[in-house]
């Protein structure tokens, strides 16, 4: 195929659109890392919960996009409970324990989903599904919606961290745990809220992606890898960095699809992660691995 201009524009546009959702997932992951000092290997499963929220919504005749608010509220409650019941028990444990624990939690969530909905692939189309033509350039409409919503949410997330009391508390704990406690910030509650925010963002990201993909219980794995990549590229714990990292991964993936082929896109992403780990292990915005 010849690489004409329209084709390249289309590819880059699609990459940018995908990058928006990746950015949202990466932002949600990096907050957990920065504040809870927890590399959440179960984060992909949270995105999968979003996928199946969309599946449930569609089976009830509700548009996936309309399910975002109720799913977010529900998830916030569940995540707060999960924090106190589960995550809090490993928060001061060695990193190995946390890795194994969060892996286990992710597997439990995915297995439970498989038990309830079976492993059969599913779709969750929205009434707004379809493609849009901008001149000769074709883009899928759910992707545009996902992009816009993700950008708004990621910016909102950032604003929340920046200007609200709890956001400041979260950043204070991330910056200096002991000092934060000295000035009277309730540590456990802050961590719980940070975790809940992260979980909600991941679930909403899942709901936003759901209409443009085929859903299965283990579909979240891909996003775990992508989010890791974006988080590493953007410096672990750095919210803006994760955002930029997500965009970079999206564009890079699209370029790989266009110029090497669809089969190789994951190899390209993981290759990019590897190169970044070696050349700039602290990401674009960091000096040393410190949050």
């Amino acid at each position: 195929m010849g690489y004409d201009l329209f084709y390249i524009i289309e590819v880059l546009l699609n990459g940018l659109l995908a990058g928006g959702t990746y950015a949202l997932i990466a932002v949600s992951m990096t907050v957990v890392f920065g504040v809870l000092k927890l590399m959440n290997f179960g984060h992909g499963a949270l995105v999968t919960i979003g996928f199946y929220s969309a599946v449930v919504a569609v089976s009830w005749g509700i548009d996936p996009y309309l399910a975002i608010v109720p799913a977010a509220v529900l998830m916030a409650i569940v995540a707060l409970l999960a924090y106190y019941a589960l995550i809090d028990t490993v928060i001061s444990k060695p990193a190995l324990t946390q890795v194994v624990f969060t892996l286990g939690l992710g597997i439990v969530i995915e297995a439970a989903i498989e038990i309830i909905w079976t492993a059969n692939p599913r779709v969750a189309p929205s009434a707004l599904s379809g493609v849009l033509f901008m001149g000769d350039v074709m883009v899928s409409r759910p992707r545009i919606i996902g992009f816009v919503a993700s950008i708004l949410l990621a910016v909102g997330f950032w604003a929340l961290l920046r200007w609200t009391w709890w956001g400041m508390a979260i950043r204070a704990v991330a910056q200096h745990d002991a000092a934060a406690r000295l000035i009277g910030i309730p540590r456990t509650k802050t961590l719980a809220i940070a975790f809940a925010l992260s979980a909600v963002a991941a679930v909403v990201a899942g709901l936003l992606i759901a209409p443009s993909m085929t859903i299965s219980p283990y579909a979240g794995h891909v996003f775990l890898g992508i989010a890791f990549g974006a988080v590493v590229i953007g410096t672990k714990g750095n919210v803006m960095g994760a955002f930029v990292g997500g965009m970079i991964v999206g564009l890079f993936e699209a370029a790989a699809i266009a110029f090497i082929g669809d089969d190789f896109k994951e190899a390209a992403i993981f290759g990019l992660i590897l190169v970044f780990l070696l050349v700039r292990p602290d990401g674009l915005f960091g000096k040393r691995a410190n949050v």
Binding site: M39, P94, L96, T97
Partner: protein, 333 residues
């Protein structure tokens, strides 16, 4: 400094295996040798599963447990072994045994190159885990995308016309003994490493890389050595497993699940201990088998698996072995 394993495996620093320990180990070996002669095919298959995971996880344990570098890319070396022998046999007709040796060499070389880069750039902790995972995923995608290596469908291993030990197509009973041999080699090697200079140096690195360096140990070289040994051991197990299944494909040999599963017997049994992977493999295999029989729904065994990980990581972060070794009279310190 390995943030991931710093506190996990200190138990294993000096397991002065006394006579009692050796006698117990010998007794266990005799039992393992006699086991297939008295059991049904079902139990034999379970035995093979246990020994397979023991040897595979034991090979990971050298880099992950003894050296304290939490690799999430070990499946790559396992798959290299499986693909080397299957590919060389099905395309060129090379005997499997030759393919197995080639696979081990390729895996060792791969570990040498990757490890040299990774350790030189001082990736450790979660960075090392993600870096090795990325490496393995790149290889998985390449194996699935290149038609030369069978693509996503993998390579079926052609059935040999006549049984020939060079081709390594055996009855289940023989596979049991092959995996048992691999297990014995790896456990013996692990026990040897733990009681030797090499093992002490690895333990020093695991506890604090900076301190180790200050007393004249070269972390890069030693970690590289452990990584190469780990990889060279994983590849033949991949060959054996592919012969047992009679096919290779990317998800079975390269998948993320395999990369995680290989870590677990060692973690649950006891990181950086010779018998940890065996203990962990026994517990995991039976837990999964049991949950499969009780629940009879796809996903149930995975659920039990995940739940076990959560429970073990919190309640027994050092694994079962330290607990058990206290009960064995004089078996370890």
């Amino acid at each position: 400094m390995s943030e991931l394993t710093a506190t996990a495996g200190r138990q294993a620093v000096r397991p002065a295996a006394g006579t009692t320990g050796l006698v117990l180990a010998a007794l266990l070996l005799v039992l393992a040798i006699l086991f297939p002669m008295f059991v049904s095919r079902y139990w034999l298959a379970l035995g093979i599963t246990v020994l397979f995971w023991t040897s595979f996880s034991g090979s990971w344990n050298i880099i992950g447990g003894y050296a304290g570098q939490f690799s999430l890319g070990h499946a790559a070396f396992f798959a290299i072994g499986a693909y080397s022998s299957a590919w060389l046999y099905s395309v060129f007709g090379f005997p499997t045994l030759v393919g197995m040796i080639v696979g081990s060499a390729v895996a060792a070389l791969m570990a040498l190159c990757i490890g040299w880069i990774i350790f030189r750039y001082k990736l450790h902790g979660t960075y090392f885990a993600i870096g090795t995972l990325a490496m393995s995923e790149v290889l998985r995608v390449l194996a699935g995308a290149l038609p030369w290596f069978g693509g996503n469908g993998g390579i079926p291993i052609p059935l040999a016309q006549e049984r020939n030990w060079l081709l390594m197509q055996f009855q289940p009973m023989a596979f049991y003994y092959m995996f048992l041999a691999a297990t014995v080699v790896i456990i013996a090697l692990s026990a040897w490493i733990a009681r030797n200079r090499f093992g002490y140096q690895l333990a020093a690195i695991r506890d604090s890389e900076d301190v180790a360096e200050s007393i004249g140990i070269s972390p890069t070289r030693l970690k590289l050595a452990a990584y190469v040994i780990s990889a060279a051991l994983a590849a033949p197990i991949g060959t054996l497993y592919s012969q047992y299944l009679m096919f290779v494909d990317p998800p079975t040999f390269f998948g993320l699940l395999v990369a995680i599963q290989v870590v677990l017997p060692a973690v649950i049994g006891g990181l950086g201990t010779a018998f940890g992977p065996l203990l962990g493999a026994i517990v995991l295999t039976f837990a999964i088998e049991l949950s499969d029989r009780v629940a009879l729904r796809p996903g149930a065994s995975l659920l039990a698996y995940g739940a076990m990980l959560m429970v073990f990581s919190v309640l027994l972060p050092r694994g079962l072995w330290p607990l058990l070794s206290k009960m064995l009279p004089g078996a370890t310190r």
